[in-house]
Every structure is written in structure tokens, then in C-alpha cells.
Amino acid sequence: MTKPAALFVALGAAAIAFVVAYAYPAFASEALPWYYPADHAWVVEVRPTGVAIDLYARLAQACLAWSVVFAVALPIARRRREIGPRAVGLVAAWALTAIAFAMLFFAWTLHYRVPVPVPSEVR
């Protein structure tokens, strides 16, 4: 089952890369392009200074990581003569663990977050 398993392994590896790239800014001081909706401006910085959105940058970063890893992993996996059920199970377990860990981390963090509203004088 080389061909289907190769696709699954590549998709699983790309999923792990996606999750790592999306979650990375939450753990490291990475400068990202933040979008300031009130000013229609993009600013590259680690922490925003007002109401700003980092979702676009993080999503783009994650999609880029997914594409690169998928493009590299698929030909490598296809070249393997055989990919057994053990390798398939391992990739599935790692991908599921990465997604579950990221989801739980964000759910936990967001549950205890105290949002900072727009200062009333700006309104």
C-alpha cells in the first residue's frame, strides 16, 4: 500500500508542521506582521501596542510550513519501497498528539485570559 500510505504520511507530517508553525509564536518571541484594523496598517512586531490581529500572519506561516513539508515529504515517502502499518500508526499518533496538545494549550490559555478592551477615549 505504498502510494496511499505515502500520501497519508506526507499529510500527517505536514499537519505536524502546520501545528508547530501556528503555535510557535505563543512560545517564542517571534516578530510577526500584526494587522491594526482601526488604522488599516500592518506592523511587524512581537507584541501589539493596541487592537491588532496576528491571525492572518500565523495562518499564512502555518500554511507555508504545511506546503513545504508536504512538498518535501511526499516524494520521499513515495520513494520508500514499503510503508508498513506501524509507520502509518506512528504518524497518525504524532499528528493527533500535536493537534490535541496545541488545542488544549490554547483552550487552557484562553480560558484564563483577561482581554484588554479598547480605551474608552478612542471610541
Partner: protein, 157 residues
């Protein structure tokens, strides 16, 4: 006069389209998950499963894109000016939903990719990973839709 974010004038239409696509996604993703679990149990309807996998991917993508277009208005006018001050639980629930939807994207890719291989007899060992991926996509769609409506009841665009 408060600042006007990009696409603020179209935000209500975008959110209405977002909600309609989300409801279509619920139907497609639930049906896809049901078919994937049947396939894992040995009762494969490859054509229908492929159809619902494509419908799930299309509605997931459309819902996400419309949400991303409406997001600047929501972030400033709804979350920044109201929810963060009066309903912080809704702000946090919205961001949890947003994270779940984004993290669901690679799972969607797995479910969609494996649905294309259902006729391949060599792919039988992947029936369970396919069923789990389809179920996770459906669970994400349900969580996102229910929490999206809960946030909208607190304050909508």
C-alpha cells in the same frame, strides 16, 4: 467618529454568508463523518463519501474565508469595543473557536486526501485514520458553529 475597519460596510453580509456556510458545513461534515465510519466498518460508499468530503472541504473553506474577511470589523467594533469590556467570556470563546477551526485545517486535508483513495484496495489500512479525521472535522464544525452562535447572541457585527 470611531475608526472604520476594512470591509466594515459589508461586515453584516459577510457574517450572514459565514453563518449560512457554517450551517451547510455542519450537514456536509456530519454526513461525511457518518460515511467514513461506515467505510471503516466495511460498508464503503466511495462515491458518496468523496462527494461529502468535497462538500465539507468547500464549505469549510468558504466559511473560513468569509470569517477572515469579516474579522477586522469584529475584532475592533465587536470584540474591542464591547465584548472585551462587557462579555470577556465571549471574546475568549471566540478565540478558542478560531483556534479550533485553524487547527482543523490540516485534519481536513487528511480527511479530504484519504477520501480520494477509497477505491484503492491498498488503502484499506487507512480506513480508521480516515474515519477519525472525518469525525474530528465534524466535531470542529459543531463546536465552531455552536460557539459562533453563542458569541453572536452576546453581540454580533
Amino acid at each position: 467618529m470611531p475608526p472604520e475597519p476594512a470591509l466594515a460596510g459589508a461586515a453584516r453580509a459577510l457574517v450572514a454568508g459565514h453563518a449560512v456556510c457554517a450551517l451547510a458545513l455542519l450537514v456536509a461534515a456530519t454526513q461525511h463523518a457518518r460515511l467514513a465510519w461506515r467505510a471503516a466498518g466495511g460498508r464503503l460508499d466511495a462515491g458518496l463519501a468523496r462527494l461529502y468530503a468535497a462538500a465539507t472541504a468547500a464549505t469549510y473553506g468558504a466559511t473560513l474565508v468569509l470569517g477572515l474577511l469579516a474579522y477586522p470589523t469584529f475584532r475592533y467594533q465587536v470584540r474591542g469595543l464591547f465584548l472585551d469590556r462587557h462579555a470577556p467570556w465571549a471574546s475568549n470563546l471566540f478565540d478558542t473557536k478560531e483556534t479550533a477551526v485553524v487547527l482543523g485545517l490540516p485534519v481536513l486535508a487528511i480527511a479530504f486526501g484519504l477520501s480520494r483513495l477509497l477505491d484503492d484496495t491498498r488503502a484499506r489500512a487507512l480506513a480508521w485514520p480516515y474515519a477519525v479525521a472525518a469525525a474530528l472535522v465534524a466535531a470542529t464544525a459543531w463546536f465552531a458553529t455552536v460557539s459562533g452562535f453563542a458569541v453572536a447572541f452576546a453581540r454580533a457585527v
